[in-house]
């Protein structure tokens, strides 16, 4: 898989929070690349910068220095974004499974998934049909009409996964997606992400503490104090 296209490329990414004495170096010269079809695990102690790294890749957090490239070319370089419409980039090219799901409380499970597609231009009827299919695929079809407040942690997690996959993004990011799941579900979620990576040539980057699923990754990256510690 040496010649696979690199979809996520970070080079010397640095991110500092705060000023002066209290400044925290959340990321300190991180270089990392994830190729199409590759599933990479990101681990490290709490506060080591894992979430910050994911947010930088998703263009939610702007780095201070370095180069971020997604697919075709750099999106962050020389201290600024090259594409002004980051949200268009996010809704079409990135699927993000947030640690706390971030479902919209006023939409049921189906429409939470469908919204991601209508925002990307899909017609509502077709979006809902695909949303239902994705929910069925993830085993939560019975909860398709439920509001997020009525979903269990695991159900909400799977709805969030369905939403992240909805637009077939080439880049999938997940922040502790299996934290609310039992180990069997956790493995099946990882297997699902592996399948998406394989079938759609997507690059998948997953933050996890969960040792039970470490074997499901092509590669593990460890962060410590904002630096990449070791590559397994």
């Amino acid at each position: 898989m040496a010649e696979r296209r690199t979809l996520i490329g970070l080079s010397g990414i640095t991110k500092r929070f705060g000023e002066g004495e209290q400044a925290v170096r959340a990321l300190d010269g991180v270089s990392l690349s994830v190729a199409a079809g590759e599933v990479v695990g990101l681990r490290g102690p709490s506060g080591s910068g894992k979430s910050t790294l994911l947010n930088v890749v998703a263009c939610i957090t702007a780095p201070d220095a370095g180069i971020l490239a997604l697919g075709d070319g750099p999106v962050w370089e020389g201290g600024h974004y090259t594409d002004p419409d980051l949200r268009a980039l996010r809704r079409t090219r990135i699927g993000f499974i947030f640690q706390f799901h971030n479902l919209l409380p006023f939409l049921d499970a189906t429409d939470n998934v469908a919204l991601a597609m209508t925002l990307a231009g899909k017609e509502l009827g077709a979006a809902r049909a695909r949303a239902k299919a994705l929910l069925a695929f993830l085993g939560v079809e019975k909860r398709a009409g439920a509001m997020p407040a009525r979903l269990s942690g695991g159900e909400a997690q799977r709805v969030a996964i369905a939403r992240a996959l909805a637009n077939d993004p080439p880049i999938i990011l997940a922040d502790e997606p299996t934290a609310a799941l039992d180990s069997e579900r956790a493995r099946s979620v990882l297997d699902l992400l592996r399948r998406v990576a394989a079938e759609r040539e997507a690059a998948v980057l997953v933050v996890t503490h969960d040792e039970k699923i470490f074997d499901r990754f092509d590669r593990m990256v460890t962060l410590r104090d904002g630096r990449i510690d070791a590559v397994a």
Binding site: R87, P105, L124
Partner: protein
């Protein structure tokens, strides 16, 4: 899918309570506009209902509403002969208290000659005045039923007809009576000293005095030209209907109008600020949802639409609630609350503008919300 409606449906109770609050506020604002318009409308109902094209009054005055005016009754014949005049009638005007069984009614008495200009344009119940004496036609606002009797100057008058919506600029109901009755009443109600001197034949000794002559003009006649012709008589002044109307608004009810107008503006300003604050609170309540929308890549258009649509919906529901409330209670107001389709349409527009401008601050704030605000527990 419409996010604004879906979000409202999700917290419907709260939204409706907010609408009730906005509705109450708007009902007060609408009432104020109606009261203001009512003062303006009432100031003009008298002149409008008489259908007078020209008011002939005492020289040097701008009577009979803005200033006192007295002219001899026979001036009516002079005016009637002026080219362009179709008909002329002498009228008297004075406020008086009528004693009805169990209460005193303050009214604007208008004496005229039945068959000549000066009477009510329409009778709502009963009949107009005929030749008989001691009859009155009263406005419904006086609260007198047909056939009731009232006492003025020691004489008993019977209500033979009712009008609707005819009031003087101060809000008192109009009461029409025969010119002769009104002239006698004028004499009886004037101070005893002047009464004695008049009875003794002192001074002019003429009881045929009226306050104004109202004239209707031929269709083709030019009111200003006729007024000019009348003014050639040294002891007469003339005002066209347009002049009389503007005098009423700019002089007679000017203070009341400006007072109410200023308060209306203040109230609309306060309404705008409160609605803007409510929209801001509604938006900040959704901070996490808006940040989430940004996380999943929703464009600004989606977020602007969410805030703006909710603001307009809040304004519409509140407006309808406020308007319904006011229309339900407006007849209990002692004076006219004039809220016609035109005022309602204008106010709907004002509320829409208030909602759009009030959203501006919230939209700015919503667009500045950082997507990261949705991350974390």
């Amino acid at each position: 899918m419409n996010l604004a409606l879906r979000d409202i449906r999700h917290r419907l109770g709260r939204f409706l309570i907010t609408c009730v609050g906005v509705g109450l506020l708007l009902s007060v604002a609408l009432a104020m506009v109606g009261i203001y318009q009512g003062v303006v409308a009432e100031a003009l109902t008298l002149t409008r209902s008489l259908g007078a094209d020209l008011w002939v009054v005492e020289a040097g005055t701008r009577g009979p509403f803005a200033e006192a005016s007295r002219v001899p009754g026979d001036v009516r014949e002079i005016v009637a002969r002026v080219p362009g005049v179709a008909a002329a009638g002498a009228v008297t005007l004075r406020t008086a208290e009528m004693a009805a069984p169990g209460r005193i009614i303050r009214a604007q008495l208008l004496g005229y000659e039945p068959g000549r200009p000066g009477g009510p344009s329409a009778i709502a119940a009963g009949r107009g005045l005929g030749g008989a004496r001691f009859e009155i036609v009263a406005d419904a606002r006086a609260g007198l039923p047909l056939g009731a009797t009232v006492t003025m100057g020691g004489d008993r008058y019977r209500v033979v007809g009712l009008t609707r919506g005819l009031v003087a600029s101060g809000g008192d109901p109009l009461v029409f009576l025969h010119l002769r009755d009104s002239q006698e009443l004028q004499f009886k109600l004037s101070p005893p000293a002047s009464r004695r001197s008049a009875a003794a034949g002192a001074g002019a000794g003429n009881t045929d005095t009226v306050n104004a002559i109202v004239a209707r003009l031929h269709r083709a006649a030019d009111a200003d030209a006729v007024a000019e012709a009348v003014r050639r008589w040294k002891h007469l002044a003339a005002l066209t209907d347009a002049e009389q109307s503007s005098l009423l608004l700019r002089s007679v009810v000017a203070r009341a109008r400006v007072q109410l107008g200023m308060f209306t503006v203040v109230l609309l300003f306060v309404t705008a600020v409160i609605i803007a604050l409510i929209i801001y609170t509604m938006t900040m309540d959704k901070l996490r949802e808006i940040a989430t929308l940004k996380l999943i890549g929703a464009p600004d258009r989606t977020i602007v639409g969410l805030v703006l649509q909710q603001a307009l919906l809040l304004g519409s529901v509140g407006f309808v609630a406020g308007l319904s409330l006011l229309l339900a209670v407006r007849d209990r107001f002692p004076r006219t609350v004039a809220l016609g389709p035109e005022e309602i349409a204008v106010m709907a527009g004002v509320v829409a503008v208030i909602c759009i401008l009030g959203s501006a601050v919230s939209i700015r704030a919503a667009l500045r919300i950082d997507a990261q605000a949705a991350l974390g527990g």
